[in-house]
């Protein structure tokens, strides 16, 4: 019998701390229809109400999965449509453009799962001992604007990857983290989550993770940072 460890954290980046503005990232983890679910969202910095958008994105994914998981035959684009519709409902009267946000999610059960994302950031997972990734558009960093809920209306902007049944761990992070991760050290990053954080008691783990994100070593980092992680433990 296996169990799942799920954890995450979101911290304001130095830019928002200095400006006294809220964290525009959000994350959530839930269990839905027997699947472990992670969501991270990064409200677009140029939008005035993007923190509403990012929190709403997390809720929208969970709501959409409640409908979609018993009906997976309808395909991943139907799930994307459900998320977008649910997001619009959650942001209520807020203008979609004002609440624009990226969104990445993963759900995993012993029989497998799915990773999906719109916009920048990174999803990593460990399967059969190797690390797989679903990154954003290859040229995100030099792009003016990323795809996002509230900006991109076509479902084709969503990217998906199937998680096979031997997937043992998944990490999602916003671009405040992913832009500074060295691609050839993704395995070290996953090892850190698995070996240094996952075994800790929840309160200590939360403090340790927040401390790591608040004291991020890359020079001149300013972005909000959000990380969500889950793994199966035998």
């Amino acid at each position: 019998m296996s169990s799942t460890i799920r954890f995450g954290a979101s911290v304001r980046g130095p830019a928002h701390v200095r400006a006294g503005t809220p964290n525009q990232d959000a994350w959530m983890t839930r269990r839905v229809h027997g699947c472990d679910v992670l969501v991270v969202a990064d409200g677009m910095g140029s939008r005035p109400l993007s923190q509403i958008g990012s929190v709403s994105a997390c809720r929208a994914v969970v709501d959409a999965l409640r409908i979609w998981l018993p009906n997976q035959g309808s395909g991943s684009l139907v799930l994307a449509g459900l998320i977008q519709t649910s997001w619009r409902a959650h942001i209520n009267a807020t203008s979609p453009d004002d609440a624009a946000t990226t969104c990445a999610f993963a759900f995993l059960s012993p029989s497998g799962g799915l990773v999906g994302r719109i916009g920048d950031g990174l999803a990593l997972w460990r399967v059969s001992g190797s690390i797989e990734s679903l990154s954003s558009t290859p040229d995100r960093a030099a792009a003016n604007e990323t795809d996002a809920l509230g900006v991109t209306r076509t479902l084709g902007a969503w990217r998906f990857a199937e998680l096979l049944s031997d997937t043992t761990a998944v990490a999602l992070c916003t671009d405040g983290i992913s832009e500074d991760l060295l691609p050839d050290r993704y395995d070290t990053f996953m090892d850190w989550l698995h070996s240094d954080l996952a075994p800790l008691r929840p309160a200590i783990r939360r403090r340790r993770l927040r401390n790591a994100l608040e004291n991020w070593p890359t020079p001149r980092h300013l972005d909000d940072k959000t990380l969500a992680y889950m793994e199966f433990r035998p």
Binding site: D139, N144, P217
Partner: protein
């Protein structure tokens, strides 16, 4: 025990500034090349001395005078020892544009972590090679298309058609420097513009060819 230092970048995200400088023989007139050297040296020194912002400004210089070549490879401003440009030969602007596209698309030069580049084209005369196709290819490049672009025409007949095409935006303005002093003014303006982006919390959120707050003594080339 693993720490984030074991898997994160140890340098700030770069903000590339690529200068395409006309060094054809005509730039030797009226002290223009001297003014350009002084202005670029001042700009690089300003970037090097800047208080840490979000990004680290990197500078490259591509010249086109007789031949198009990389005068200064892209590197952090604080590591640059600027060597003066000299003016001679024809105006192979198209060749310089092609070199720019190669540079921007080379991920070993402009990494995926880099913010969108600033590309600056300045010229004092009509191109002497084919420039239409290189500019078209540049503007079709995803990275270059999203770059912030500036165009400065120097002197009385700066070949404004190519400068205009380089901006790729009918609403963007080609600026004009009628004399050496205005070249310095332009570079002061450029320096401030780049520094503002490097301190911004959203460095990529710029228009494709930003010319806001242009100094009053820099004129716009109209058509």
């Amino acid at each position: 025990m693993t720490t984030p230092r074991d898997f994160t970048a140890t340098t700030a995200r770069p903000m590339p500034v690529i200068i395409l400088a006309d060094t054809s023989g005509s730039m030797a007139r009226d002290g223009n090349i001297t003014a350009l050297n002084t202005a670029m040296r001042d700009m690089i020194q300003s970037f090097a001395a800047e208080e840490p912002g979000l990004a680290e400004v990197h500078v490259a210089i591509i010249t086109f005078g007789g031949e198009a070549k990389v005068h200064l490879p892209l590197k952090p401003a604080h590591e640059i020892r600027f060597e003066d440009l000299s003016a001679s030969g024809t105006t192979p602007l198209g060749g310089a544009i092609a070199l720019t596209r190669e540079m921007i698309e080379d991920r070993s030069v402009v990494s995926g972590r880099a913010y969108s580049p600033t590309i600056v084209l300045l010229s004092d005369g009509l191109p002497t090679d084919a420039w239409e196709e290189p500019i078209r290819q540049l503007l079709e490049s995803d990275r270059a298309r999203k770059a912030q672009r500036f165009a400065l025409g120097i002197g009385a007949d700066p070949g404004a058609e190519a400068l205009r095409a380089f901006l790729g935006d009918p609403t963007a303005k080609v600026l004009a420097a009628k004399d050496a002093n205005q070249i310095r003014k332009f570079f002061q303006y450029l320096t401030m513009s780049v520094q503002a982006r490097s301190r911004s919390t959203t460095p990529n959120a710029h228009g494709p060819s930003s010319v806001n707050h242009v100094p009053a003594d820099l004129e716009e080339i109209f058509y």
